[in-house]
């Protein structure tokens, strides 16, 4: 009895004495590598932000000297001295944005809806459709990577020359629409793919047909993503220069109709910097351009947050 009890305690001790195979002895080293890695990531972030701040700061500091109400409200006078303000370029930019988005959004969103919601059925039934859809998808991928000046040359050849639309808002709007179409299609496609299948099933199970399902459930649910794509496009239109150089012309007058030439803000920056002595006015215009792009992003952020919070209902 006594003997067996002792043997029991001995085995227990032996178990306790077994050395653990995984020791936490490398704790200090792991902490160190963690700290080094954190430092590297932090530095990378800092450099990226610093570069951005520097560029914006440089433009702001140089631009602010010429910015005043008069600069904003008078039109450019033309000539090598770069006299005058930038009023018409602001208006032209707005015209251009509205026109481009109005052309590209219905086409782009429509194409995305077709590619995501409808191709499945048709591809199964018809190999020709399947082939065409595959080509369309690849085409969108390639178009998204084409340099904008190629869209400009295309627009120049087709709209300006062949269709005789001249250097005009319309030519520029159509070319700009070609440029942003791939962006809108791809972001809309992704937004539609992110809509849970359960929404579609829930709607169809109630006896709604496919069109009703797409219009009342799928598209509203995808709206924040689609809006993001449109905003990216607006930013792109505001920033593009080359494509409008060969389609919009460069007239500093206010466009009177769709067929008149004009000058967007970015184009104005380019022309002031390359063809006049008014470098500080180019900077001033650039500063306004940057500020409007930042504002645009802020506004859109607020809007899309409001859209999604209204549908997700966490707020009220």
């Amino acid at each position: 009895m006594n003997e067996s009890l002792r043997s029991l305690t001995r085995t227990k001790t032996q178990v306790r004495e077994r050395k653990p195979r995984i020791a936490s002895s490398n704790l200090a080293q792991r902490k160190l590598t963690q700290r080094i890695f954190f430092g590297l990531v932090w530095a990378a972030g800092l450099i990226a932000v610093a570069a951005l701040v520097w560029i914006i700061g440089y433009v702001m500091v140089h631009g602010i000297q010429v910015i005043n109400l008069e600069f904003l409200t008078t039109r450019p006078a033309g000539g090598v001295s770069g006299e005058g303000g930038m009023s018409t370029t602001i208006v032209t930019t707005l015209y251009l944005i509205v026109l481009t988005i109005a052309i590209a959004t219905p086409l782009g969103v429509g194409a995305a809806v077709y590619l995501v919601e409808y191709t499945g059925d048709e591809q199964r039934e018809n190999w020709l459709v399947a082939r065409l859809v595959a080509i369309a998808r690849t085409g969108v991928e390639i178009l998204a990577g084409v340099p904008s000046i190629l869209f400009g040359l295309f627009g120049f050849a087709l709209f300006v020359s062949f269709l005789k639309l001249k250097f005009s808002l319309l030519s520029a709007g159509l070319s700009g629409a070609c440029l942003i179409l791939p962006v809108i299609i791809r972001t809309s496609e992704e937004a539609l793919l992110a809509v849970p299948r359960s929404y579609r099933e829930g709607s169809l199970a109630l006896g709604a047909n496919k069109l009703q399902t797409n219009l009342s459930v799928v598209l509203p649910a995808a709206m924040p993503g689609i809006v993001t794509g449109i905003v990216l496009s607006v930013g792109r239109i505001m920033a593009e220069t080359a494509i409008f150089w060969v389609t919009l012309g460069g007239s500093y007058r206010l466009p009177q109709d769709l067929l008149s030439s004009g000058r967007s803000m970015a184009l104005h920056v380019y022309m002031l910097a390359s063809e006049t002595r008014a470098f500080e006015k180019a900077m001033g215009t650039a500063a306004i351009l940057i500020v409007s792009i930042i504002f645009l992003n802020l506004i859109i952020n607020i809007i899309s947050r409001r859209i999604s919070s209204r549908s997700m209902g966490r707020m009220r």
């Binding site: 499945g120 199964r124 849970p196 359960s198 929404y199 099933e201 829930g202 709607s203 169809l204 199970a205 109630l206 006896g207 709604a208 047909n209 009703q212 009342s216 459930v217 509203p220 649910a221 209204r310 549908s311 997700m312 209902g313 966490r314 009220r316």
Partner: protein, 258 residues
Amino acid sequence: MEPKNRSKIQIKKYSFYYGDFEALRNINIDIPENQVTAIIGPSGCGKSTFLRSINRMNELIPDVHTKGELFMEDMSLFDMDVVNLRKRVGMVFQRPNPFPKTIYDNVAYGPRAHGIRDRGILDEIVEQSLRSAVLWNEVKDHLQKSGLALSGGQQQRLCIARALAVEPEVILMDEPASALDPIATLRIEELIRELAVNYTIVIVTHNMHQAGRVSDHTAFFSMHKDRAGYLVEFGPTRQIFTRPEKQLTEDYVTGRFG
């Protein structure tokens, strides 16, 4: 033992295929009207596939085909317009799936899809449906809140209200309480019993106790060696759980396999 009610849906020699894979083999069931029929069986035996055959939701999946016939009151489901079929046969899914819309718009969605625009009629339908789903008292003061802001159990009752709003005759439920906590589950089960007065209900469930609590009739599915699902036994729930005819059924309901 024959069901005492007349049958609402008749399934005759029904087989279902995903491509070459036979998911259901030769199913024959008469689902009785205004009663709760539970479908039980091990995972992968085709319970959900069977349920989704009744409102033809399986047609959304590519490369499927069927053999045999499904009738609702002597009319073949395949001859009916699918929109009309789904108006008459509603569905409640495993995970609550309210639309990202207001509570009101969730319930009014179906009626609107079927062409009702009159605000007064819609108000009436919304209230009635929410009352039937025992959700009205909890949400009547904030119908304009998003359906996604509700708790899981409330969301599922909202989905039931949404299904009721199109005035269906049959309601299919695919494990409607499996994503819910025990209290919410109990409320859904009580609701199912209440709804059975006016609706024919077919419910798929993993939970045998749930089948025992809510259903009048139980169909036990299992699968062959080649994984094709088949109907082992169908009868009044009490009989299936106490004196089943087949040994396999007894093994399953007593928890010896599955």
